[in-house]
Subunit: 330 residues, 2 copies
């Protein structure tokens, strides 16, 4: 009996010590009309491979005791360097045929945050957002000013042509053709159903959360439009007292509904779990408002949610066992 | 006895009908180290006169049945046109000797919102923010793109020299001198203790709330820095289910704490009054974080709060009686 009790206690202690350094990384690669019928097996395999690589890269950081901020930056850089996702290398084109990118990052341990908007020559916008967070007193920098800052900070600068990809260029031409045939009256952006933003939320060995988001915005965007990705509280939020969130979708709704912070507020003020809070915002509030998209949200215990109200969302997670899990469809 | 009861009922009915169309406008003209000893009687009289004029202008809109959005825009335009406040005409200078302005507006009836950041040729940025809200599908536009949109929308465009004022130019030179003597290591913005942002929150006859904020940012700002004023949820928020908020202060803290939306969230999710919620965020959360500034917040019943944790805040309110009230110090 004594033996049995001691054994049980050892098991409890082991399970507690196994839980303390719980690490978790959750990522998304954008939401929208992503359906099985619209995807070739080759394309699906490419997306899965890229997401798995990003997950493994971020998990390796966490597994060797790196911070959640390190893991978020490292994993997002992988997707920024891939031409598959609408961020970094694969960024979509603006109306004027440029690639203007936004990114943000937030450290849940101290609520520090950084963001860049409308940058065109920074190879990895997520790293520029991190530099703003850690090497300036500011939270948000835009345009040429942000590029000047990133240059002074020694980040990798590329010629704008680095971001040119045939696939995105053709997508812009299609949009422009559609516009000629059916001019948009309100000077806004026409129908678009793919939101290729990428994002990551991570929990490190010290129990600290972080979140980051990076995007090329929307194809054919005009007038210096800024979406939710670089807006702290809308597209990105992290605080150890609640959760880490990264969003993807119709940015305007995510700004007006303060989506990322609202999930944290529902947890803090209403006592909801991360699943309940994320579900409430994405599948009730946003659905009522007809705002399409999804989020990834992670709490300090490693519980996470990946709700989306669109047809699909590239998403995945990886924990302490190092096995990546990727999902695309509903 | 019968007579008495009838009289009492008439009084109740009158008081109810007098309450239904309750209108209210609350404004701020910035917070910071504003002290009696540091202010001449002439300067104080000028600030009071400008704030009273802005309050009367907005109240006149509400009194004739105009919307809260109309009142917010009209009253903020008055302060933008004054050289006294750091918004529009009186905007401070950036490090490069330019005037780059931000503004945002939100309609509490439908959660529509609009914002512009880093604009240099739009006479009234608050009107540009309104045009983004009402005439585009976007929420936020920055820089040249926002200026192009405002121009197409027929807003008044001015030469950048319109925003040149001797007082603000001298303030920049002082900052630049200070910087030469004591270089700032972190490439951030040096000490600054006046936050001249302007803002308004209004309640109209139909019971709809609106909020707006306009600013020139901070003297000597660099790198395309964007503060909280154009960020929905940080510097500006309005929703009929909670309150309307406009903030002024160290923008970076207001972004990281999602100040404007957090006040709404505390009301919705914790059942706090507008006074309790505004007090909690400004005088507890921000004070703990050492984030200086203040807010104005208004609920659908016309209750409002104007807490600030700095030495002073230009502020005032005006209700159905048309009598403006202005306060400056603690």
């Amino acid at each position: 009996m004594r033996m049995k009790l001691a054994g049980a206690m050892v098991m409890i202690a082991m399970s507690a010590s196994a839980q303390t350094p719980k690490i978790m990384l959750v990522m998304h690669g954008g939401a929208g009309t992503i359906t099985r019928s619209g995807m070739t097996p080759e394309a699906e395999a490419q997306y899965r491979a890229a997401l798995e690589q990003a997950l493994r890269t971020g998990q390796a950081v966490l597994a060797r005791g790196g911070t959640s901020v390190d893991a978020v930056e490292a994993s997002i850089r992988v997707l920024e360097d891939s031409p598959l996702f609408n961020a970094g290398k694969g960024a979509v084109f603006t109306h004027d045929g440029k690639n203007e990118m936004d990114a943000s990052i937030m450290n849940g341990a101290n609520k520090m945050a950084g963001s860049v908007a409308g940058v065109t020559i920074i190879k990895n916008p997520i790293s520029a957002a991190r530099a703003v967070m850690e090497k300036s007193k500011h939270v948000m920098m835009a345009g040429r000013g942000a590029e000047l800052f990133a240059t002074k900070m020694g980040l990798e600068i590329v010629d704008p042509s680095y971001f040119w990809t045939e696939r995105r260029w053709k997508a812009l031409q299609q949009e422009l053709l559609k516009e000629q045939q059916q001019p948009r009256g309100d000077l806004g952006v026409g129908e678009r159903k793919k939101f290729g933003t990428v994002g990551a939320v991570a929990l490190d060995r010290s129990g600290n959360l972080a979140a980051g988001t990076s995007t090329g915005g929307t194809t054919n965007k005009q007038y210096g439009r800024i979406g939710d990705s670089p807006i702290i509280g809308a597209g990105t939020y992290a605080s150890n007292d609640a959760c880490a969130v990264s969003a993807t979708g119709e940015g305007e709704y995510f700004i007006r509904w303060t989506v990322a912070y609202d999930i944290a507020a529902l947890m803090k003020y209403r006592g909801m779990t991360v699943q309940q809070a994320a579900e409430e915002v994405v599948n009730h509030k946003l659905v009522d408002a007809k705002g399409e998209g999804g989020v990834i949200a992670l709490d300090r215990n490693g519980n996470f949610a990946m709700p989306f109200n669109s047809e699909g969302m590239y998403r995945g997670w990886i924990g302490g066992d190092g096995v990546p899990h990727v999902e695309i469809y509903k």
